[in-house]
């Protein structure tokens, strides 16, 4: 999936560096470590663990290194990783229906975790609560709680509150990376006057539109209210939604400030919208999406970090709302069985060490407070991932948390209605009514 020469080089460099570092550490501390190492190895826990993951290719290699870190410590436990790719929800649903789920799995949909808990398929991971609390801020621990019990660990997190821009387009228009929303909307007009549309939207991928809305809502009303809307404790016809949609209209409402206009934006999917921003000459100046945009830029365009492309946190909107709050999504570890081996493994994944092994290789973020920013391999990754540990509040991508029929079905529910909003941004009231009707139907099921 993410085959990129640069990434490979980076991975190789990272591995070499890690090895060198390990060697230095080993030499300098060999005497004291020899004794310590013996006590670190735990032979009393044994067994085997089947792990189904969505990670393939380089990500799989990276995670297998993480597993190695565990089996070095627990030599009598065997962890078998199988990559199921992005079909994970289908594969898991089918395996559960067939009565044969894996021991441990990672899923990217918190809504699915909730569904599995409600159907009594998951085992709580209360045993790891102490370890997790030691390593993660309360806001992050809470993400794994369903029905007041801890069921999941957000092991690999991504920062979805980011805005990517073309450095040259900004320079040409004479604007700086915006810190405030009002600045952004003003800059967008300047950028348009300079002859480049300000935004490249990925309207065909409905989730990018909901991401934009969610970031606006989070920055306008803060995490508490965000979580209420997410849980449908606030109706979609609420005035706060009206306000957020009005702000969103400032971005999507002006056809001439979108690359390809409204129609073009509706037919452009992710990641094509990213490529447009970094084409020569650029077709648009910015794209608003998560940290994983970096992968696409490095993989599909010639743009170089910092020199050609750069990233800023999603701009602050209301002064009262926490501007460091982060909308996140990511891969959660869930367990279908409970054995000492599984317990040890889940606890291990919550430690800084398990995160650092992968973080060094790139393409990985974590809310683990003990992972220093210096671990990340380059400036851009530090910029996107370090805020994760500093965020006072973290919220899940709203559409991932809602029932799938409303929050994550192609062309339907939230995705489809936001596409209608992009098509015709004038009738906010009708959009809100449609959202509420669709949410109501989905929550009833």
């Amino acid at each position: 999936m993410r085959t990129d020469r640069k990434l490979v080089v980076r991975v190789v460099a990272g591995v070499a560096l890690a090895a060198a570092l390990a060697a230095v550490v080993a030499v300098s501390a060999s005497a004291s470590q020899a004794g310590a190492k013996k006590t670190m190895v735990n032979t009393s826990v044994s067994g085997s663990i089947s792990f189904w993951g969505i990670w393939a290719a380089q990500e799989q290699t990276a995670f297998e290194k993480v597993i190695k870190g565990f089996t070095n410590k627990f030599p009598n436990v065997k962890v078998t990783y199988t990559s199921k790719g992005n079909d994970m929800p289908t594969v898991l649903a089918t395996a559960i229906a067939g009565g044969n789920p894996p021991d441990v799995a990672d899923v990217a949909q918190p809504g699915l975790v909730k569904q599995f808990v409600q159907q009594h398929h998951l085992k709580p991971i209360t045993y790891a609560k102490k370890t997790i609390s030691k390593n993660f801020a309360p806001a992050w621990v809470k993400l794994g709680v369903v029905n007041k019990k801890l069921y999941a660990l957000l092991y690999k997190a991504s920062n979805k509150s980011t805005l990517w821009y073309n450095v040259h387009s900004f320079k040409q228009a004479g604007v700086k990376a915006p810190k405030k929303w009002s600045q952004l909307t003003k800059d967008a007009k300047t950028i348009k006057a300079s002859g480049t549309p300000a935004y490249s939207l990925c309207g065909s991928s409905g989730w990018t539109l909901t991401d934009l809305f969610e970031n606006i809502y989070l920055r306008t009303f803060g995490p508490a209210k965000y979580n209420k809307l997410s849980a449908h404790k606030i109706k979609w016809t609420d005035p706060s939604v009206t306000k957020a949609l009005k702000e969103m209209k400032q971005v999507v409402g002006n056809s001439s400030n979108l690359y390809g206009g409204t129609n073009g934006a509706l037919q452009t999917g992710y990641p094509q919208c990213v490529d447009y921003v970094y084409a020569t000459p650029p077709k648009a100046a910015m794209v608003i999406e998560a940290d994983f945009v970096a992968n696409e830029i490095l993989q599909a365009t010639k743009a170089k970090p910092v020199k050609d492309f750069n990233v800023v946190p999603f701009p602050a909107i209301t002064a009262g709302a926490d501007a460091s709050a982060i909308e996140t999504s990511g891969d959660e570890i869930i367990t279908f069985r409970n054995t000492p081996a599984i317990q040890a493994f889940v606890k291990y994944l919550a430690t800084a060490k398990a995160a650092e092994i992968w973080a060094k290789l790139g393409g990985f973020g974590t809310g683990n407070v003990h992972v220093p920013a210096s671990v990340y391999p380059d400036a851009i990754t530090r910029r996107t991932e370090a805020p994760l540990t500093k965020a006072k509040a973290a919220v899940f991508d709203m559409s991932d948390e809602q029932p799938a029929a409303f929050g994550s079905t192609t062309g339907q529910g939230e995705w489809g209605i936001f596409q209608k909003f992009l098509q015709n941004p004038s009738n906010i009231k009708s959009i809100q009514q449609q959202l509420e009707a669709s949410a109501k139907a989905a929550y009833k099921k």
Binding site: A193, S256, W415, A442
Partner: protein, 435 residues
Amino acid sequence: MAPPGPASGEGPSRYRTGALFLLPALVLLCVWLVYPTIYTIVRSFFGPSGYLGGWVGIDNYRTLFTTSTLVTAMKNSAIWVAVVPAFVAAIGLIFAVLIERIRWSVAFKTVVFLPMAISAFATGVTWRIMYLQDPSQGAINALGRTVKDAVTPPGVLPSAVPSTGLLQPHGGALILKTPLHPGGVALLGLTGIAPADMPSGSRQAAQPIPKPGNIEGVVWRDFKPGGGKAGVVEQGEIGIRGVTVELRDSSGTVVQSAKTEANGAFDFTNVSAGTYNAGIGGATFAKPFGGYSWLGPSLITPALLIAYIWIWAGFSMVVIAAGLAAMPRDVLEAARTDGASEWQVFRRVTVPLLAPVLSVVFITMVINVLKVFDIVIALAPDSTVANASTIALAMWRTAFSAPFDFGTGSAIAVFLFLLVIPVLALNIRRFKREI
């Protein structure tokens, strides 16, 4: 029937041998077809999460006819059934009859048949690229642009917009609202032009110096990094070269026109006393052909039908051509000798004789079209896949992607099964007759 071999005796043992040979097929048939069919039917009466979801009676079937996306899918499938088999059979028939009369018929047949060798998914991807709206990407709109731009060429500054409210659009043209008199100055500032799109050779714009009896002016890119002051010629702002500026009198008639120089300057000389307006003609801003939104909500189904017919026309042609080749020529000759025109021969003799072959094509296509799935998922972008959905696709999307509602998914599958049964029955009856 082959005569019984010497080893096999009469009566029961013969049946036993037969049954033994049939058994593997029968077992596979049961495992892969009979059991899943029964299970799907049963499953369609239960809720989304397995038997835990509980018995819901015919609720899933009610959902089927009340959910707007599923109704759209059924409507689309009806359109597919109404359009595709007829077109495929008709086009195949025309091709088959025509290729009998041309040289290089094998080459022609191969070309028409070739799409059959491509998977429907690949076809979908290819056509999707061809249908893209941006004429610099989509082949079909590129053709449209070539034709349209040859008739009405696009302007040099299609994306330009006025930098101040003083310059107002007037039927495609931009007219400076400020009235001008001889000795006056016209500032025509434009923005929204990327530096790369500026006419070559343009340089720093110059503030026009008024001259008695003349109207002097400048057309320039009223933008410098940071925005600059709108309506003011500043250092770093570039004049636009080669723009045609028109001077209109108070009645709106063009009295003079001038082309701008490299610094954007233009002048109208010897202007007689009066009130004038300066403006830039509409031709400068004429937009290039923007392309049709083939993949948009209203054209997506026709776009899919075209691609699908393109695939299957070859199959139909080959089958019908085979039918034609097997047709007794003397009947055609007899008709011709009796004085029938070619059209009459085709209409009254060829088509009736081909009826069995045509019905094979027709029935095959009806079954294919009811099941159509892959090309839709490959061709339609996510934003319009709901508008393009068909029954089979709706079934998959309901059951095997979020929300994993196997109950409603099974109901859709059963509904599809019921639709296919009559066509299948028809086909089986035909087979029996032929044997």
